[in-house]
Amino acid sequence: MIHPIPPGTRDILPDEMRELRRLHLELIAVFERYGYGEVATPAIEYDEVLARGDGRTADSAYRFFDERGDLLALRSDMTVPIARLVASRFADAEEPLRFCYLANAFRAVRPQRGQMREFAQAGVELIGIPAPDGTVEVIEVLGAALDAAGLDRAVIGLGDADLYRQLLSELGVEGEAREPILERLAMHDLVGLETELSQAGIGAEQVDTCLALSQLRGGSEVLDQARELGGEAVERSTARLGNTFEALESRGVAERVQVDLGLLRDLGYYSGAILEVYDPALGHVLGGGGRYDELLRRFGIDLPAAGFALYLERVHVAQMEEESRRRGSG
């Protein structure tokens, strides 16, 4: 007799579990080597506490009442629970703090799209080291994690979350008019972006600048190309990215980093550097992260922070694809 499970959830059977466990242990071993201690937090938290972390409260897709009538929610990532944990338990601890995790998180899915409602994430949080050093350390750990997973072709995209917010301010676009523009940018809908920018009353030349900027991705040469497009926001942003990139080079971990001025993640708490991870064997993003220097303040302590999370199952798929590719070519 077949008893269904909800779409977007799944059972894992021994063959796959063995491989996932091995990947899990490899990743945690890398994180531990860099001094990141593994933590676990409850899958269920008070909705009010999670909502503090992400302004857009719609982020927790699953809410329910407990026996006392309190509103609970399933976590949608580990960054907010760890911010809560740091504020509650490590407020007086000496910085920096380094934590890693492998945990399941929960998000709403769109039906029939093969999206996961429950998925495993492996990642780290580095608290107390500002940009660029903190960002560089996180990228170094991420690179080592990708190496450990055998994804030697994987690329880390490095962007700046503040670029377009500041650029729009510079262009005099404020308030409600910003939202549709940032949304188009995050979706990388260039045709729609051009329309929205024109409707916001921006001149043709500056529209072209925005469009060109969102297309710049590659090595450090794109920073020079961006600077030629001009503007204070671009100047500040490229200076930040340039500092980070130089520091990455001096640590010898810049090789797999792609500077990407079109990168914009839609999670509400990012500021400064943002990261995305790609592997040529997979059409989907493997993970992401960045800086969230404002997040801990919402929990009552003012500390800079950065981190990343990899989707464990996607890393596993990419691993499998890369293995079969190596077998095919070798």
């Binding site: 072709r153 729609g192 590659g218």
Partner: protein, 226 residues
């Protein structure tokens, strides 16, 4: 024709760039646009029933227009061409829309029977219109954003039939010349959105094969402007 291999960040592209080509109404003009961009389309134009046409730098993969976002989102095709109508209907597909190619222009419209007030009457007396369409999500969004309630009826074949024999009060459909509407005694009541062919990319391919995609996009843009 030479295509630079993406040199960024040590990524090694695998094989030719796979481009999803829509069969159907956009097929001929898409092949013309690709020709103008310097891509050999002779094999595709031949009577072959093949689906994949390998090339040195670019492999063409032909498919239904509505499948293009599916293949591109998954990365099975790196880039593709399809109509804005398809992208709007499948707006939850995460693909990058990079360029308006300018051809295949048409309008998404609400149409009803000529001289017939059924649309207005249903709205007034029943509070609800019945709309037949191949684009249920576009239709629902349009009526929702204009504060009206509709019952959308999804049909696969000739939408024009629905109001003629009483399945629906009106239709939401694409109109290029308006001839089909006219022949079926239907007329445009509202314009919803303008559509045309768009160049789309997989988000990972857009990052990892940046040089190839930018170059192709540049050539398509030049072709579209001439």
């Amino acid at each position: 024709m030479t295509v630079e291999v993406a040199g960024n960040a040590g990524a090694i592209p695998d094989g030719p760039l796979k481009l999803a080509v829509p069969r159907g109404a956009l097929f001929e003009e898409t092949l013309d646009a690709l020709e103008r961009a310097g891509i050999d389309t002779a094999a595709v134009r031949g009577a072959s029933r093949a689906l994949i046409f390998p090339g040195k730098a670019i492999a063409l993969v032909t498919m239904r227009p509505s499948d293009v976002p599916t293949y591109v989102e998954a990365g099975a095709a790196d880039v593709g061409i399809t109509g804005k109508d398809v992208l709007l209907e499948q707006s939850d597909r995460m693909v990058y829309e990079l360029l308006d190619l300018g051809y295949g222009r048409c309008r998404m419209v609400l149409a009803g029977r000529r001289g017939d007030e059924r649309l207005g009457e249903s709205q007034r007396r029943l509070g609800m219109m019945r709309i037949a369409t191949k684009y249920p999500r576009v239709a629902e969004r349009h009526f929702e954003s204009t504060g009206r309630q509709v019952e959308t009826i999804e049909v696969k074949g000739s939408v024009e039939l629905a109001p003629l024999i009483g399945l629906a009060d009106g239709i939401v459909d694409l109109v290029a010349t308006g001839r089909t509407l006219e022949e079926n005694d239907l007329e445009v009541r509202e314009e919803i959105v303008e559509c045309s062919a768009r160049f789309v990319a997989n988000r990972v391919a857009h990052k990892l094969r940046a040089a190839e995609i930018d170059e192709l996009m540049g050539r398509l843009r030049e072709g579209a402007e001439t």
